[in-house]
Symmetry: C2
Amino acid sequence: MNNFDFCSSTYFAFGKGKEKEVGKLVKKFGGSKVLIHYGGGSVVRSGLLDKVKTELTNMNISFIELGGVKPNPILGLVYEGVELCKKENVDFVLAVGGGSVIDSAKAIAAGAVYDGDVWDFYDKGKEVEKSLPLGTILTIAAAGSEGSGGSVITNENGMLKRSSCYDVPVAKFSIMNPELTYTVSKYQTACGAVDIMAHVFERYFTNTEDVEITDRFCEAVLLTMIKEVPVAIENPEDYGARSNIMWAGMVAHNNICGVGRGQDWASHRLEHELSGMYDVAHGAGLAVMFPAWMKYVMNHDVNRFAQFAVRVWGCKMNEENPEETAKEGIAKYEMFLKSIGMPTRFKDIDAKEEDIPAMIQKILLYCSSVGNFVKLEPEDMEKVYKLAL
Amino acid sequence: MNNFDFCSSTYFAFGKGKEKEVGKLVKKFGGSKVLIHYGGGSVVRSGLLDKVKTELTNMNISFIELGGVKPNPILGLVYEGVELCKKENVDFVLAVGGGSVIDSAKAIAAGAVYDGDVWDFYDKGKEVEKSLPLGTILTIAAAGSEGSGGSVITNENGMLKRSSCYDVPVAKFSIMNPELTYTVSKYQTACGAVDIMAHVFERYFTNTEDVEITDRFCEAVLLTMIKEVPVAIENPEDYGARSNIMWAGMVAHNNICGVGRGQDWASHRLEHELSGMYDVAHGAGLAVMFPAWMKYVMNHDVNRFAQFAVRVWGCKMNEENPEETAKEGIAKYEMFLKSIGMPTRFKDIDAKEEDIPAMIQKILLYCSSVGNFVKLEPEDMEKVYKLAL
């Protein structure tokens, strides 16, 4: 196990009706003038936004609004939010929505108290040293942004999708009511599930030895997802399934499953260019990239992939030929993806082989290789992309 | 899944050499005058205490000391610590040791800023509303006190062992260097392991439905312990085993394994009277009580015990007779306890059948029944104790 520092300081208020505590929680964490940040019409239509405003008003907390966040949130709207916060002396940012909204809110919270360009945190890897306090009301189980320091923003100028991950813009509180995810479509539920499982894979496939406790935590999340996701897709209002998935999404990415171990993140980098170029859901892009990545890197540590197959997918260990077991695990994962309606190939998302060089070029603007479990050079990236054709 | 609030705000600095960061961390959390609280001679002999003093001095942090904490920490020393803090204007309590030291330090930290009697927090269930900030340097993997709000103190006046569990005296930081546990004896290592697994059992055996994610987290800790504890007992300087056990001990009790589910805690109550009366190690007492409790309550939910047997102990499910599977799981747990040198019966710890009524009487001073998975009335308590004979 590697040395590590870990602090997951977010206050989680989880369960039915918990959104009613938003006013109390904003006050607890020092907010008096709030920017409510949200996406499209669903939080309006569902009445959630009105509820939030009522609760804030009841606690004598004033607020302004900025809606319009779309999947793959863009820098333009972040700039708008930053300006708004500065102009209106906002002292608290409240994200109401899914990962895109929370990521955008994190950027705004950091940018609002930064003298330079907020894009520095994403493009230049500049560390976020301070931010406005942030709260979230989560409406989609997927990105885990409600409990993590991560944020992914796309700069429309060149469609550059970049991430920032520091401790500062971690939410002070996150309200997680599984009922709020009842209206998430089957497709988006599946995309979210893929994202959650991918956050675990990035941590699970490691070269670090002696990591049994986090191996088991990773497997715990995956086993939960395998059981609960089909239930939630079959019956969107199954509270048990929705609640297990929602909490799994948080623990998959607040790093309790990843402490003390090297992590990979190549597939996320490869996927970012895919969804950056085609504007496909992140989860769908990951469903295309991960099986390909697994096949490409499997022989780097067959035993780890065999363990994955046995512990997560219930495969029988083939002691004489662990490679067969490893392959079987990957095949079962791919079958699971298909069973929940996910794409697994370029053609399923209308991605094109001829765009591969351009995607690699975009990655190379940022770094010369990706991944840690296996370091992928440009020629490897090409091979992984091609395995996804 | 039940509604819940969860916040585990401790900053964990984990790994080799991390105790060198103590000065930096005390300063980060606002300490300038520290009470160093510790137990017997081991932290002196090992040189750890000197290292800590050097690091504090290097950061221009002044300190005073209070040693002498013993297993089953007593109220008398807590009073002494509280007086010392008030008299010397201490603004930070640093626990250097295991669960007993940390529990004692929590009581001191809470008592130092309380006008009444600190025992109120334990005997009367009074909520701790504020405390001095607390840091820990952990030297034994067992109690999980480094990441929890819990604290158990024994009042020598009547040998009343009582617990307090609120959010306030949670450590601001905990330094966890697995190397510091190399000198923990085989017996104490096993006692710690029993305690860690017991913290999971108290959460695992629940009546709450739809708790797959926390079921799996509980099982993750147990599977890790089953693998790593024998390794650490065989080779006390196995860093991999020690590090997995140390982190497992924290997650077993910071409630990440217990959120959203009813918890039991009968066995802990029954055990407290055992170790309160005989001054036996808490872990050894739990090793005696838990198999007995499991046998007594098993039929309340055979399927849960069968799941425990299959997922944790690798038993084959007997679909026609799940009770047999459930029993097999309990038997395997008992065999595991014996294999790591733990007592499992009253006679192994020189406890006496004739003391059972007195132990039950002490429990009844505090509450009329114990447990939640199964509510144990006095007559049930007697039967459980007798199953441990």
